[in-house]
Amino acid sequence: MSDARPRLLLVDDEAAIRDSLAPVLERAGFAVTTASDGADALSAIRAHPPAIVVSDVLMPNLDGRELVRSMRRMDDWTPVLLLTQVGESFERSAALEEGADDYLGKPFDPAELVARVRAILRRSVPGARPLTAAERLQSGPLLVDRIARRWWLDGEELQLTPRAALLLDYLMTHPDELHSRDKLLGSLWGYDQAVSSRAVDHRVAEIRRVLRDDAAEPRFVETVQSLGYRFRGAVTPAGPR
C-alpha cells in the first residue's frame, strides 16, 4: 500500500497489548505493524523498514535490549523506544551500549506513548546515528564522555552527583524538547507522583551551579515557566579526544 504515514513496528509478546495499542497508534497517524518478539521483529524490520520501533523488554527468543543491540550492530539506527524505565538500565550502565532512543515504563498513559513517539520522530534524522547512541557529545564548551561518564567544561573536569549526571545526560541527548518535571521523574527517578517534583529542581540547580549556568540567561538548561526544562544548547557528537 502506498502510505505516507510513518511506519511503526510494535513489539510485545502479549497479544492483549498489541491488539489494544495498535489501534491507538493507528488513530494517532502511524501505519502499525506488530511482532511478538525480538527475532520476529528483526525479520519484520528486514521486510519493511519502519520509521520507529516501540518494543517491550522482557520477551522470549530475543528480548528488547538484545533487539536494539542487534539492530545497532547491523548499523541500523532506526529509533527505538523501550517500554521500561531508563533508570533501571542506566544503573547497570547499559543504556548507552543499548542505544535505545527513549524509555517509557509500563503501565503508561497511551497518549504519553504517542507524544514520545512523535518527539523521537521529530528529532531523528533517518539513517543517522542519534545523539543517544553517541559515545561523546559536545555542546559549546561542554563535553561529555558518556562511556566513562566524565564531564568537562572548557577542558576542566566537572563533579556531578550520579542523579544530576543522569539528568544532564538525558536532557543533552534530547535537546530542544520540553521535558515536564513529571515526565523526567517518571523516566529517570521512577517515581510517578508529582510528590517529589522538587527533586528535579534540585538537580537542575546542581547542574547549573556546576556548569556555571545562569538561570536567567542559560546556555544549557533552560526553565520553561511552570512546564519543565529544555536543553537549549546545540548538541553534536564529538570525536575522540
Binding site: I17, L21, L58, P107, T161, W189, G190, D192, S196, R198
Partner: protein
C-alpha cells in the same frame, strides 16, 4: 540446648570411666592418701563451681549467638522473599493494566462505563507504581550525600501547604526547629527519598485529621540521631492496629472510608531503614498521632 548439656555430662562420666578402667586393671592396689588443709576446701570448691559455671555460660552464649544469627538470616530471607513477591506482582500486573488502558483509549465510543474502567486502571497503575517503588527501595543502592533535614522538612511543608491552598482547603502547618544552642545536625542520605518520607507523613497527617486541625513538624537531635516528628490531632489509630499500619498496604479499619493505598507508612519505614534509622508511632484513638522518624546524625 538441653540435649547438649546432657551430652557434656555423659562425656565427662565416660571420660572418667575410660581413665579409671586401665588404672583399675594395671594397678588395682595403688592408693592415694593425703590430707587437705581446711582452707583449701572452699578454695577448691569455688574453683570447681566457677569452672562449671563458666562452661555453662560459654555454651549458652554460643547458643544464643547461633539463634540470633539464624533469626537474622531468617529475617533477611523473609525480606528477600518479600521483595521478590513485590517484583513479581509488579511484573505480572503491569501488562494487564497497560492493555486495559490501551483498550479504553482505543475504544471508539465514549461511555460512562469506560470512563470508570479507565479511572480504575489509572488507580491500579498508581498502586503498581507504589509497589514497585517499595520493592526497588528495599534493594537498590541509595545515594548518600549531606542532607539538611530542616530544609527538606520546610520544603515539604511549603509544598503540602501550597497543594492544600490550591485545592481550596488551606491549612497551616507549624514547623518547629531548634536554634539554641545549636541547629539540627546534618544527616547523610538521599535527599529525594527523605523528602518523600516527610511528604508522606505530612500527607497522612492532613488526610486523617479534621479540616483546619493543627499539624506540627518538629525537629530535634538526641544521642547521635536526628529526630523528625509529625504530629496531628486526627482520628488516631486504635492501639491494636498501631503495630500493623507500618506494614505494606496495611490500613486501619477506620481509614477504609478515606482514599489511599496503605503504602505510605510502609514507604516511610523502608526509607528510614535504608538510612539506618527507624519509624515509631505514638497514637491515641480519637486524639491524634505522632510519627517519629529517626535518622543517624552526621558526626560533627
Amino acid at each position: 540446648m538441653r540435649a547438649r548439656w546432657w551430652i557434656a555430662a555423659l562425656a565427662a562420666v565416660l571420660l572418667g570411666m575410660l581413665l579409671a578402667l586401665p588404672l583399675l586393671l594395671i594397678s588395682p592396689g595403688v592408693r592415694l592418701s593425703g590430707t587437705l588443709a581446711l582452707w583449701a576446701v572452699p578454695l577448691l570448691l569455688g574453683v570447681a563451681i566457677g569452672v562449671a559455671a563458666a562452661l555453662v555460660g560459654a555454651v549458652r552464649t554460643a547458643d544464643r549467638r547461633r539463634t540470633a544469627a539464624a533469626e537474622a538470616r531468617g529475617r533477611a530471607e523473609e525480606r528477600e522473599r518479600h521483595r521478590r513477591f513485590l517484583a513479581r506482582l509488579d511484573h505480572e500486573l503491569k501488562n494487564p493494566v497497560t492493555a486495559i488502558r490501551a483498550a479504553v483509549a482505543a475504544a471508539d465510543v465514549d461511555s460512562p462505563h469506560l470512563r470508570v474502567a479507565d479511572a480504575q486502571a489509572v488507580r491500579l497503575a498508581a498502586l503498581l507504581g507504589d509497589v514497585r517503588k517499595l520493592a526497588e527501595l528495599e534493594t537498590r543502592a541509595i545515594e548518600l550525600e549531606p542532607v539538611d533535614l530542616e530544609a527538606v522538612c520546610r520544603e515539604a511543608v511549603a509544598d503540602v501547604e501550597a497543594a492544600l491552598t490550591a485545592s481550596g482547603s488551606a491549612r497551616r502547618i507549624d514547623a518547629v526547629f531548634p536554634r539554641v544552642p545549636w541547629p539540627l545536625p546534618g544527616v547523610r542520605g538521599d535527599m529525594d527519598l527523605l523528602y518523600l518520607a516527610v511528604h508522606n507523613l505530612l500527607g497522612n497527617a492532613v488526610k486523617y485529621s479534621p479540616a483546619g486541625g493543627p499539624i506540627e513538624v518538629r525537629g530535634s537531635d538526641e544521642g547521635g540521631w536526628v529526630v523528625i516528628e509529625v504530629a496531628d490531632t486526627g482520628m488516631g489509630i486504635p492501639e491494636a492496629e498501631q503495630a500493623l499500619v507500618l506494614d505494606d498496604l496495611a490500613r486501619g479499619a477506620e481509614a477504609r472510608g478515606i482514599p489511599g493505598s496503605g503504602i505510605g507508612l510502609a514507604l516511610v519505614r523502608v526509607i528510614a531503614e535504608r538510612h539506618g534509622g527507624s519509624v515509631q508511632l505514638r497514637s491515641r484513638h480519637r486524639e491524634g498521632t505522632v510519627v517519629r522518624l529517626r535518622v543517624p546524625a552526621t558526626r560533627a
